[in-house]
Symmetry: C2
Subunit: 285 residues, 2 copies
């Protein structure tokens, strides 16, 4: 299988409009590259459901709130192309920053409320950058379906809400988080960890599982659920917790008393690498 690399918006639109006229279902998998098995599942699901799969690879400067994080972000385009071909994508759209932002950007999509907690306060402008680039990609590709990982649960909620609020004609699909055998959620940032950090990083998922078990066991006090996870994270002095919250899954608002499904979500720093993860947790019925 081979994949077509298209860097230009104009050429991509041309290529897609003939497919669209022929009635082919178009799937979009927006990524920042450095593809891993998590992306692999997105592409495979898209390939199973759509006649034509476009993977976009663009390390979007406007969603990084720290220049260093943007500079450090892994870039592996050659491997990514082979990976996309193997997983059944037909097109990789990999534009330059100039192609995506030819003039100073004055227009932004802002999603309020859903961005007030979790990553929102710690990454000012991040979700505005995400919503804006995803809107641009949806307008460029005009896919029937677009695929996002549940690992970035707040991002997924923001995109679902944007699409619903602004009537964007696309179906948004969330795909379950893919994990390493030891439970660490797949992430392009994992390759920034050294061996020691990589070992310690597994604590994040185990802590979230402890919180999930508490919810499943009928603990209704969100503080007690948080504490179940936080106490495990505190045992690892090399981990710094940025946040660990229990939120309702639609608008991502913190809950005090748990009486329905909640998402337990956290961001931690291991050395100089920031990792996020979450588990949708169900109280007993």
């Amino acid at each position: 299988m081979s994949v077509e690399l298209i860097p230009s918006i104009g050429r991509l639109r041309e290529r897609l409009s003939s497919a669209r006229r022929a009635g082919v279902t178009i799937g979009l998998v927006p990524t920042m590259g450095a593809l891993h098995e998590g992306h692999g599942c997105l592409v495979e699901q898209a390939a199973g459901e759509c006649g034509l799969v476009v993977v976009s690879i663009f390390v979007n400067p406007i969603q990084f709130n720290q220049a260093e994080d943007f500079a450090r972000y892994p870039r592996t385009i050659e491997a990514d192309l082979a990976f996309c071909a193997e997983r059944g994508a037909q097109i990789v759209f990999a534009p330059s920053a100039e192609e995506m932002y030819p003039a100073p950007l004055r227009s932004f999509v802002e999603v309020t409320r859903l961005t007030d907690h979790l990553c929102g306060p710690f990454r000012p402008g991040h979700f505005r950058g995400v919503a804006t680039i995803v809107m641009k990609l949806l307008q460029i590709v005009q896919p029937d379906r677009a695929y996002f990982g549940e690992k970035d649960a707040q991002q997924l909620a923001v995109i679902r809400r944007m699409v619903s609020d602004l009537n964007v004609p696309v179906e948004i699909l969330g795909v379950p988080t893919v994990r390493e055998p030891d439970g660490l959620a797949m992430s392009s940032r994992n390759r920034l960890l050294n061996a020691e950090e990589r070992r310690i990083a597994t604590t994040l998922y185990r802590a979230l599982q402890a919180a999930e078990r508490a919810v499943a066991a009928g603990v209704t006090d969100a503080e007690a659920v948080r504490e179940a996870a936080l106490s495990m994270l505190r045992e690892q002095p090399q981990i710094r917790v940025e946040y660990l919250e229990v939120v309702e899954p639609d608008e991502m608002q913190p809950v005090g008393r748990i009486d329905g499904p909640v998402r337990v979500a956290a961001a931690v720093w291991v050395g100089s690498t920031r990792l996020i993860d979450n588990i949708l947790s169900m109280p007993p019925h």
Copy 2:
């Protein structure tokens, strides 16, 4: 000629998708109703260039910064329908507020910089509301072309920039302002004026023409150009000037020295009615 009234997003999309599949060019004329000759020109131009013309009629609550202005805004749907049929539109999309905003709106399109002057500071949230509703309409209708009046020059600039920044696949067309025989720009708000106010309102255009003449005569000091217009407006004590600015036409930034095309734009209050107008003015070459 007859026009089809469609209040539902779902039915509209169904109706349009068959036209789209058949290769018909779709034109959109977004309005708030209370249609007048200015809208008539938009619809006629659209009908001349497109196989199917959709006029949307929706008094958009989120672009009104004053509840009273929203309440007072004229609503004349029966007359509007006949008007649209006469001018060659095939569909009037007139949704309810519940159809357009079924859930609390959390997602907004913000256009920065272009909204810093003119109406922007005087109508907080207005352009956010305009950009957001126009984005929604563009996503619902997915027109090939959308038509806007140059009377709302800042709105037109904002929409052009939004479409360009966010890669919305539509061509935006600006249509020249239509005026009453005495020069007053057509506006749905004109019918809120009493006879005395209506007479006085003509001063606005005459003042802008005075500014335009100054620019055309080679006056390069924007303050002197403003003064040419303001001195005429000051002669009418019943007119209160909200702003009168000389701006460059793309990003709507005030200029000090005129060395290219400028837009002279003003908002004035006549009694309790707010009127806006503008003239694109060319310095001598």
